[in-house]
Symmetry: C2
Subunit: 122 residues, 2 copies
């Protein structure tokens, strides 16, 4: 038995603008230095990926991706300093939540349901 | 800014068999004394509701709903003792997770993102 745990940030209109999806997209952009390649890799339309990033940027209030045009390799996308910081903090937050969810499960269910381990995608 | 948080139980095949949906369904059955009425109320096909309950029962290893046939009111569905206990514990667990997700957010994001309140549907 495993716990599947998720947390996302939502604005006052009920729009979820940051969570597992945008986080993975940012990580992929970091790795591939291209939003287009990152989207492709996640099986996501480029327009959708672009929209997700724009939406997150608008709600977070800072840019996440910067584009370099031309140069060696013909330009591409990279994460802003703020985006790198967000990714780092989100990972730590997620891991902490994950750990707590498991501990709380023990507390609330240990004498009633089987033991659980957490299942957050690493 | 709000946190949207969710936790569900998953079996070794990656099937999520208990979480917010089945929990709400059980609460509704308790209220309406009928799985059919509960499903209708949630805008869910009866067959889907039935399947969700069966799946949860199989994975939890105990029955959740018992049917009474005939009698005053023409029979209906009610929660087993185990289901009542599960509902009670899930609510407490959810509330505890919710609380800790908010606390951990403060710890990980307070000097970087706006303050957040949690948004779990009560």
């Amino acid at each position: 038995m495993k716990l599947r745990f998720g947390v996302s940030f939502e604005n006052d209109n009920g729009l979820r603008y940051f969570g597992e999806g945008p986080y993975r997209l940012l990580r992929m952009v970091e790795e591939m230095s291209s939003l287009r390649a990152a989207a492709q890799c996640m099986g996501m339309a480029y327009t959708k990926a672009f929209h997700l990033i724009k939406q997150a940027e608008e709600n977070l209030g800072f840019p996440l991706i910067k584009r370099s045009i031309g140069g060696k390799g013909g330009g591409g996308s990279s994460l802003t300093l703020e985006a790198k910081e967000l990714v780092r903090r989100y990972e730590a937050y997620r891991a902490a939540c994950d750990h707590m969810a498991e501990e709380l499960y023990q507390k609330h269910f240990s004498d009633f349901l089987p033991e659980a381990s957490s299942n957050y995608r690493k």
